[in-house]
């Protein structure tokens, strides 16, 4: 979740009212935030906001929402957009590369440290979240007074054009920027496989931006900047529109004025940005059905105002005006959640389910408990290991061949956690390895799941390590264990590379091989860095459960 850092003083000045620290840390989470760092005597604060609310990724957005939430400035915030004669032409060649662009002109910007920091932060957070690391959306911010309309969003071959990039040391071609420039290298993946690259130019062929990589140095925003031109390019037009809205309304919260830019694509023209709220209809009965809130419509309209909406009754529904900077409203349920927030989450929790249901446990998990009781009674200590493990422990060190069908993940962080285990025994060996300096004897077991043929399968395994661990010990043990759950087993000689030849046996239940036991091979013991004899067994839970000839076998 994005962490937003801001100054408490700046927040208060944006809210236009004095609030105390306790109100902030108590109430902001109830609007939808996690406290990250907040100390009473420190003006610097950090809160985490949820991924569905990019409009809260700036102190301006937080101030707007929070002052409404506290009832200080409720209702829909309207932003005026004046027309301008600025034009941005779109060349059809962008279609194959990065199809959409959106824009806005913001004038009368009063630059100060808070504003500069905030604009940087919003851009970064929006790039990472809504922008999907600039792939879906990328923003460029320019000093409008350094360039001239009309602007052109077009494409260029990698070596055709060169310009002096921001944070660069010289003029470079587009190809050079992708190969050499820090930002070029970081975001080259977005343009991978493209024959032409997107570029934004002004009337005089000045490069404003090479989206989504880097701006030209010409339009660098400085402390002197008064008027800002915003470009926003990407693959999803509705995401671009919201992104521009979030950015320009944040600037407007600091007193700047918003003007439209005419985007011309062939014969079609559109005015950007579009800050008109849109309408969604929320049936009254849905509010009650989903939340249990029973309040008259006027009260619901008041609650909506606390969340920054305006609303009116329309038959049996509420007609809600949704601010153009909200990205998360897909369904009336999303509006209803906001009603619940304004109502106060702390006020819910009064009625338990009405219908009685008959609970039931999973019978195999119950049987795991039966097995655990038996194992514990026999003095074994339960361990719990991870299902996601490594080849080296499962097959290499155990001398066992790797089965044809194993579940291997494509993107492991480490080889030790790259496949799903097919046997519990190697994991018990790994636990013994970890405890090689602990007192012996050690007798451990695990009941858990392995994965075979992509399906989960329950297993029980145990291991005993001490100077006199032997086949006989394990035979007595396995027979005793299975006898205690009413199983008549047969034992047949077996071969398994993990066990010493001639000291390994299969357990047959109703004629089916259901597990094995024996003395672990010295090579396996050594490869797990151990130096004492080990006797061990592993059983499949399901044949054991079926073989009990009791209610379990049903």
């Amino acid at each position: 979740m994005p962490v937003i850092n801001f100054s408490f003083g700046d927040l208060k000045s944006l809210m236009g009212k004095e609030i105390d620290f306790e109100t902030l840390v108590d109430r902001l989470p109830m609007m939808g935030a996690d406290v990250h760092t907040a100390e009473k005597d420190n003006d610097e604060l950090a809160f985490e906001f949820f991924p569905d609310r990019p409009d809260l990724y700036s102190v301006e957005g937080i101030a707007r929402a929070f002052s409404a939430f506290l009832g200080m400035n409720p209702g829909l915030r309207r932003y005026e957009v004046s027309e301008s004669d600025v034009v941005l032409n779109v060349d059809p060649s962008v279609e194959q590369v990065r199809p959409f662009i959106w824009s806005a002109l913001v004038t009368d910007v009063e630059m100060n440290d808070f504003l500069i920091r905030s604009v940087m932060d919003i851009q970064e957070k929006l790039h990472l979240t809504v922008g999907r690391n600039r792939k879906k959306v990328a923003i460029g911010i320019h000093d409008f007074d350094t360039v001239n309309s009309p602007f052109l969003y077009t494409t260029s071959a990698p070596d055709e054009m060169s310009f002096f990039p921001l944070q660069g040391t010289r003029e470079m071609t587009l190809r050079e920027i992708l190969e050499v420039h820090d930002k070029g290298r970081a975001y080259a993946f977005v343009l991978e496989g493209k024959e032409r690259y997107p570029i934004i130019l002004d009337r005089d062929q000045n490069v404003l931006s090479f989206p989504p990589i880097i701006n030209g140095i010409v339009t660098t925003v400085t402390e002197e900047t008064k008027n800002i031109l915003v470009d926003c390019t990407g693959t999803d037009l509705s995401a671009l529109k919201v992104t521009v809205n979030i950015l320009v309304t944040a600037l407007a919260e600091r007193g700047a004025k918003i003007h439209s830019v005419k985007i011309v694509r062939g014969s079609e023209g559109a005015a950007a940005p579009d800050l008109e709220p849109w309408k969604i209809s929320v049936p009254l009965d849905m509010v009650e059905e989903l939340t249990g809130i029973r309040e008259p419509p006027e009260k619901l309209i008041e609650l909506l105002a606390r969340m920054g909406y305006s609303a009116a009754m329309d038959g049996s529904s509420l007609s809600v005006d949704v601010p153009a900077y909200r990205y998360d409203i897909l369904h009336p349920a999303d509006i209803i959640e906001d009603i619940a927030k304004a109502y106060g989450y702390e006020r819910f929790g009064s009625k338990l389910p009405k219908y009685s249901t008959l609970g039931a446990s999973d019978i195999e998990f119950d049987f795991w408990e039966v097995l655990r009781n038996a194992m514990i009674g026999l003095g074994y200590l339960e361990v719990s290991t991870l299902t996601l493990t490594g080849r080296e422990d499962q097959y290499g060190r155990t001398r066992r061949p790797e089965p044809e069908q194993i579940v291997e993940v494509m993107n492991p962080r480490s080889n030790d956690h790259s496949i799903l285990r097919t046997s519990l025994l190697p994991e018990l060996m790994a636990i013994l390895r970890k405890n090689k300096h602990r007192d012996l004897p050690q007798r451990i077991f695990e009941v858990g799941e392995v994965v075979e043929e992509l399906r989960n399968s329950g297993r029980l395994a145990g291991a005993s390590i001490h100077a006199k661990a032997s086949f006989t010990e394990m035979k007595s043990f396995v027979e005793g264990l299975l006898r205690s759950v009413g199983i008549r087993l047969k034992i047949a000689p077996a071969e398994d590379p993990s066990f010493i030849k001639g000291r390994c046996a299969n357990v047959l239940i109703d004629g089916e091989v259901s597990g094995l036991f024996g003395e672990v091979h010295p090579e396996v013991i050594s490869s797990f860095e151990l130096g004492y004899p080990i006797a061990a067994f592993e059983l499949r839970v399901s044949p054991v459960m079926k073989g009990t000839n009791d209610s379990w076998s049903r």
Partner: protein
Amino acid sequence: MKPEETAEKLSLLEKKVLIALKDVGSAAPEEIMERGGFDKLVEVMNGVSWAQMKNLVTVEEKSSRTYFLKNKDRLERKFPERKILELLYEKDGSMRLEEIESSGIISKKEDISAGIGWLKRKGWADISKGEGGSKSVALTDLGKEMIDKKGIDEQLFEELLLSDGMHEEDANSEAVKMLKGRKGLLFERPVVSRTVTLTQDGRKILDIGIDLTEEIAQITPQVIQSGKWKGAKIREYDVQTFAPAVYGGKRHPITVLINQMREVFLRMGFTEIRGDFVESAFWNMDVLFTAQDHPVRDLHDTFYLKKYDKISLEKDEDLVEIIKAVHEDGWKTGSKGWGYEWSVEEARKALLRTHTTVNTIRYLSENPNPPLKVFSIGRVFRNEDIDYSHLPEFTQVEGIVCEEGADFDMLCAILKEFYKRMGIDDIRIRPGYFPYTEPSLEVDVYYKGEWMELGGAGIFRPEVTKPHGIEYPVLAWGLGLERLALRKWNLSDIRELYMSDIDWLRKSTIL
């Protein structure tokens, strides 16, 4: 403890030690054995060490050494210089070196030169150069005298040949030095000699008087069966004396916690469900309305399979069409949808389930009719780097309720009840976000004196429930088990749970 009480609890061996020391005050264990009428030295030592722990005696240890010979049977009984001396005496006191060598009385040449060396050193013979450069050896007066006598080194050597060892105080130090001058002959080993001395406290006990009636220390079958215990005194123990720890077999802490959770759910009328680790992206993500470009679907967050990388969705053909529509334009759910082109290829990807919610939605899809209360507890997988608070695999607990009248208010009430039964003192509910629930909430719990984040909840979005024909709100909540386990057992590292130290497991509680 008062001297009277101490006296009362003395063992017979301790009493005998004290009595043996009564007149002498201090003595070596061997002497105590004799004076006290012990049978074995080990009895003395036991009695002494118990008495020492009670501060009734002190033990002073002095280390010294004894000398001994190794492989006595294989040693020559006579030193080479003695053999040459005897030969010279026979040959009238003087011989040439070649003659000695060829006489055959000494087989090794180096022994001859050693013997000549010792003859000179002991002053038994003179060596001189004769004609043609050959050496001759002639007995001195001392040498002649020594034919009937033995040197101090020879005496010591003979004594050592007859004994297992000799204490350094009993050996002539000059002779020892001489024997040490011969290679591989004399060995020494350190020995500790002990002196046991009665303390003030010990003396007090003696002053009180010691009753030497035979007492029974250990109740043996023989003691019981012979009736010997009748009228005998059974020694009283100091009940606070250290006893070794015993650790039996027990459940792993995670199992203990899982069982508690299962009990809570079962008592509240929930049915347990489970599922496989390998799932399709379709069921794990798409059915739960997680957009196909959502970051949780990235390789950085979710484990995808390498070989069996696609899962057939043939069985779910109809649902696939509906889910495609839900994502693209909302279908009939009243939602706008995500407004992108949904890819069935993306949905076919095989992955390791990232949450147990995939079990839940599969269950709901097959059992859409209320009332429903189900739960699951199982392992889930996220592509995380391993550190003290992260593992790529952890245990998720999840419960859902679906019935007529189920709503957000009921969800919060269930949570309060659920956490109360989990032994949590207090909970706090605040807004949260999950892609498949709306409204969503997060739960903070007050546990062991601290607030901690423990779980999330919400009502399944209509985009999630409507495709399966579910009519009533589905209330869902979940939590990770490990965070709670860490607090419960005061651990600071999640790895302790799944790569456990056996000593920790042995000592952990089963509560």
